[in-house]
């Protein structure tokens, strides 16, 4: 069966014969082929997940999208996923790409946050709020740390190692200033946010080079970022394991499919990892505090 027929079969897309485009990704050892009738959508995903692009090969998962050419927001019924011989329509309950809800990707735990570190240990900065968290991560990079993941941190429930997840960074002028990166850097792709601001998207490896780690790391500390700062010096406060477990559960990106395995892993992580809250000061001050207290 050719790809156009696959598109029609999976999504009911009409007239897909001449327009389908494809890309291959490898995410956490799962090979994913995307077949899309929308060039815009595939281009968007390819920019966000550029570091995951690989040469074509046999796929573990095939994502088929029959969205119209002018839309970059697939609706339920316009997508399907194929794992082995099984074709499943996409219901819209979880993002179509990357399909973290499908095996083998559903075997990981996903936390909302950033992972930055030194040597083989990472500090997991956990928070839903991207701008402040990314700025803090960037300030730590400026001090010589490396970045493992920003936005989603995959955690192996067996060995509790955090895996690299080099999704494209989204940086504003302040973040680029902290890193001392020229706005004309070839890795930067500007775009306008819905609020009209200009920000830049960048493949972490192209932008950061050796400071973008591709090696899994131990979680040396968990830091939950408070939303409000101290109007001055940043403050790091230890958490009880009970509090840490509650906060960790709240930062799960998605419910673990193997619930007991997932929760066991979180309990284990709380047992063996120091946990803190950070009431942030300026990004530079906060980064210095974390670096000196937890990494150096």
């Amino acid at each position: 069966m050719n790809d156009a027929a696959l598109l029609r079969l999976s999504t009911g897309a009409a007239g897909a014969e001449d327009t389908s485009v494809q890309a291959m990704f490898e995410i956490l050892d799962a090979r994913i082929r995307v077949i899309s009738s929308s060039v815009n959508l595939l281009r968007q995903w390819s920019m966000q997940y550029a570091a995951f692009r690989v040469r074509p090969a046999a796929a573990d998962i095939t994502v088929v999208v029959g969205v119209s050419e002018h839309s970059d927001d697939p609706q339920p019924g316009e997508g399907a996923v194929i794992v082995g011989d099984l074709v499943r329509p996409w219901t819209g309950d979880e993002p179509l790409f990357p399909p973290l809800w499908l095996p083998p990707l559903d075997g990981w735990l996903y936390l909302r946050g950033s992972a930055v570190g030194r040597a083989g240990e990472a500090v997991l900065l956990l928070s839903e709020q991207r701008p402040g968290r990314t700025l803090l991560s960037v300030a730590m990079l400026a001090r010589g740390a490396w970045l493992l993941a920003d936005e989603i941190i995959p955690l192996d429930p067996q060995d509790l190692l955090a895996a690299p997840f080099p999704k494209a960074l989204i940086l504003d002028r302040e973040a680029l200033g902290l890193l001392g990166i020229d706005l004309a850097h070839p890795a930067l792709m500007p775009f306008r946010t819905p609020a009209g601001e200009v920000e830049w998207r960048a493949d972490p490896q192209l932008l950061l080079g050796a400071h973008a780690s591709r090696v899994a790391a131990d979680a040396g500390a968990l830091v939950f970022l408070e939303s409000t700062g101290t109007n001055g010096r940043p403050r790091l406060a230890p958490l009880t394991r009970r509090e840490a477990l509650g906060r960790l559960c709240a930062q799960l990106h998605r419910m673990p499919v193997r619930f007991q395995v997932g929760m066991d892993a979180l309990v284990q992580l709380c047992r063996r990892t120091p946990t803190y809250t950070l009431a942030p000061g300026s990004p530079e001050q906060s980064a210095r505090l974390l670096d000196e207290e937890l990494l150096l």
Binding site: G246, C249, C270
Partner: protein
């Protein structure tokens, strides 16, 4: 040595959602005279607390030591009244001291169907 009494507490740690235990309704088993029994759940230690992982209900609960003891006393033989009496005896405090906290914990565990009335 008699352990010191601490108000029993249970914390619900549901991924993506946290329900304050205070929102749990009154225990349904109260006044029925029936014994309570706990449903199997995965149990883990976390410092002095214990963690109950409810695989069926897809939720996780952290119980402090007195809540844990309350849970363990739901053994299929004791009614709520008898559990309160037993806790009061073990900690050498009044039943009136034990009862309010125990009932709050029982309400949460019943709402989660981790504790049910035992079959006669």
């Amino acid at each position: 040595m008699v352990p010191s009494w601490e108000e029993p507490r249970v914390w619900i740690m549901h991924p993506q959602r946290r329900t304050p235990p205070d929102e749990a309704p009154r225990p349904v088993s109260l006044g029925t005279g029936k014994a309570l029994v706990r449903r199997p759940a995965v149990e883990r230690r976390l410092d002095d607390d214990r963690v109950l992982i409810d695989v069926i209900g897809k939720a996780t609960y952290v119980l402090n030591p007195t809540a844990w003891e309350s849970w363990e006393l739901c053994d299929g033989r004791r009614t709520p009244d008898q559990i309160v009496s037993e806790l009061a005896r073990r900690y050498q405090v009044d039943e009136a001291t034990v009862a309010p906290g125990f009932l709050r914990v029982l309400a949460v565990l019943e709402a989660a169907e981790l504790v049910v009335e035992a079959d006669p």
